[in-house]
């Protein structure tokens, strides 16, 4: 059994209360909307790409603490990364959220994002945490339409 404080770590509560990069990016050249039909979480991810590098990233939307904190932490961690690096991070985050990551070596690599590792013990909340990453991926690929966790 995992304690509730393992999910709602201080870092997450902080990002929920004061999300970083929580705004519309006026000069974005990529954008995607994400939606979790199960709980109604909605998010828009804005990217400003230059030569395959994420120069600026921001998000808007409404959702639970987990989805908001995850989106906030995502923007902080992918800024300055290349498209390929961001894709790799998506894979790592996905593994962490579903509990497939090596708890020691794997988690260390995740840096600040490791605060979300408790989510894997709350299966009902995995999609909340992964929504922003799915939406980021859709924006990177320049996909039209709605990204979904389904």
């Amino acid at each position: 059994m995992s304690d509730i404080s393992e999910l709602y770590q201080e870092v997450i509560l902080d990002h929920n209360k004061s999300p970083r990069n929580f705004r519309k990016l006026e000069d974005a050249n990529r954008k995607a909307d994400g939606y979790n039909p199960l709980c109604g979480d909605q998010i828009t991810v804005y990217l400003k790409m230059e030569d395959g590098v994420i120069k600026e990233v921001a998000f808007q939307g409404s959702g639970c603490a987990i989805s908001k904190a995850s989106a906030s932490m995502m923007t902080a961690s992918v800024k300055g990364k290349t498209e390929i690096e961001a894709e790799q991070m998506f894979d790592e985050v996905h593994k962490m959220l579903t509990g497939e990551l090596n708890p020691k070596a794997g988690l260390e690599k995740m840096g600040k994002l490791a605060a979300l590792s408790g989510v894997c013990n709350f299966p009902a909340r995995v999609k909340c945490a992964s929504l922003s990453w799915h939406t980021l991926r859709a924006a990177l690929k320049g996909e039209q339409g709605l990204a979904s966790t389904e």
Binding site: M1, I4, Y8, G63, A65, F122, R125
Partner: protein, 423 residues
């Protein structure tokens, strides 16, 4: 013929229910003794589905271990037994709704299928281009989408009765919407997201003045109050078995015989025919015309047992008990700082929806779950209701016949834990 249940069904439930003894009732539901996350389970998600009493579980077990057979076709002993039990359950459902004839009781998968059946069968036969269908702003998606599909198919228009800030229908707006183009009205008897009990008798009367038939979505009403379809005079009534302590996958569509007779079949197949040749098929009589294929026999028999169980306790007692719980919970939750109750209609049943300032309902759901309290968090398949109240979702507490005031106290304690985590 011998009694259907050859395996003795425990009869604790049959004991005197003159007084509403919730402690005794809880003994009929072994699942309520479970612990989740190391805490005693407080199950307050009854609007999603109810727990099953041992009478239902035993009945399903008895059916599969001693009586399993197909209905309406075998000439052998078991098939006759299964058919008797199956049709016996139809008679119980007729009694439960106070219908006048078992021909008016159609077994379906649930409320959703019942509404789809009416939309596709009645709707496609009798609703034409330019006609109007009226629903309300507090409908579950299952009473919105089937009508939207029909509207697209036939070119009809969907009209929506608005609601006020307490979550009550604006009846003067309904009166304004009713006109000679209106060909159908379909509304919830009780709202699943707000708990509002709608003035359905008045809605039926007003619609009938213009000759418009009315379907009542009774999914959230049938578990909480006595339903008398003849007194309501509704044309169709739908509810789900699993929300009245029966199995999942089985529900009831009541329809006035006159209308069901005029309607074409919904699905074709076995059991719904009387004669098939490649030139022409003659459909079976009511209600079999609408029951194509091997039905959910165990589910039907299990639903019959659930109706027996509810009757044994008595709907009057259940309603009174749940009303008391709702009033108590409203009184206990209202003073909590930052808590807002969504749905404050004068007439409510079974459901208490709320939001907590600064905390998303999902997070409320997760934290209280860790305290053993099961509630629903989300849009409750009623996204237009969420939009109306300007919230993305709500936390919803919903009561069943076995809940107690102590459980409400447990909920209140768990909400304080939420506030502590997010404070």
């Amino acid at each position: 013929m011998k009694a259907v249940h050859e395996i003795p069904v425990r009869d604790a439930w049959k004991t005197d229910r003159a007084a509403y003894d919730v402690t005794k009732i809880r003994e009929d539901f072994p699942i309520l003794k479970r612990k989740v996350h190391g805490k005693p389970l407080v199950y307050l998600d009854n609007a999603a589905t109810t727990q099953k009493p041992m009478l239902v579980v035993d009945t399903l077990h008895a059916y599969y271990t001693a009586e399993n057979s197909n209905v309406h076709r075998g000439i052998h002993f078991l098939s006759e037994q299964a058919t008797t039990a199956y049709e016996g359950a139809r008679a119980k459902a007729k009694g439960f709704l106070d219908a006048s004839d078992t021909r008016e009781i159609v077994f379906v998968r649930g409320t959703t299928e019942a509404i789809n059946l009416v939309a596709q069968s009645y709707g496609r036969a009798f609703i034409k281009q330019g006609d109007e269908i009226i629903i309300s702003a507090m409908e579950h998606h299952s009473n919105i989408v089937p009508w939207q599909i029909l509207c697209e198919q036939v070119g009809a228009m969907l009209r929506v009765i608005p609601i006020n800030h307490d979550g009550e229908l604006l009846m003067n707006e309904f009166e304004r919407l009713l006109n000679e183009k209106t060909k159908f009205v379909s509304v919830a008897h009780v709202s699943n997201a707000l708990g509002t009990v709608n003035p359905v008798k008045e809605i039926v009367q007003m619609s009938h003045r213009l000759g418009v038939p009315v379907l009542l979505d009774g999914a959230q009403a049938a578990p909480h109050m006595k339903v008398d379809v003849q007194e309501l005079d509704c044309d169709f009534y739908a509810f789900s078995g699993h929300k009245v302590y029966g199995p999942t996958g089985i529900g009831i569509l009541y329809g006035k015989a006159r209308l069901l007779e005029a309607m074409p079949p919904y699905q074709g197949g076995g059991d719904m025919i009387s004669l098939v040749t490649f030139e022409k098929t003659h459909y079976n009589e009511l209600p079999y015309k609408f029951e194509a294929g091997t039905p959910h026999i165990a589910g039907v028999i299990g639903l019959g047992a659930a109706i027996d169980y509810v009757n044994a306790i008595g709907m009057a007692g259940i309603s009174a008990h749940e009303r008391e719980l709702l009033a108590y919970a409203t009184g206990e939750l209202s003073p909590i700082a930052g808590l807002r109750i969504i749905g404050t209609a004068r007439e409510k049943a079974g459901v208490l929806s709320f939001v907590l300032e600064g905390v998303h309902p999902h997070d409320i759901g997760t934290v209280v779950d860790r305290e053993g309290v099961a509630i629903r968090a989300g849009h409750h398949c009623a996204m237009p209701v969420m939009q109306r109240f300007g919230v993305p979702a709500t936390a919803r507490v919903s009561f069943g016949l076995y809940n107690t005031k102590e459980e409400v106290d447990g909920l209140v304690k768990a909400i304080h834990k939420v506030i502590q985590v997010f404070g």
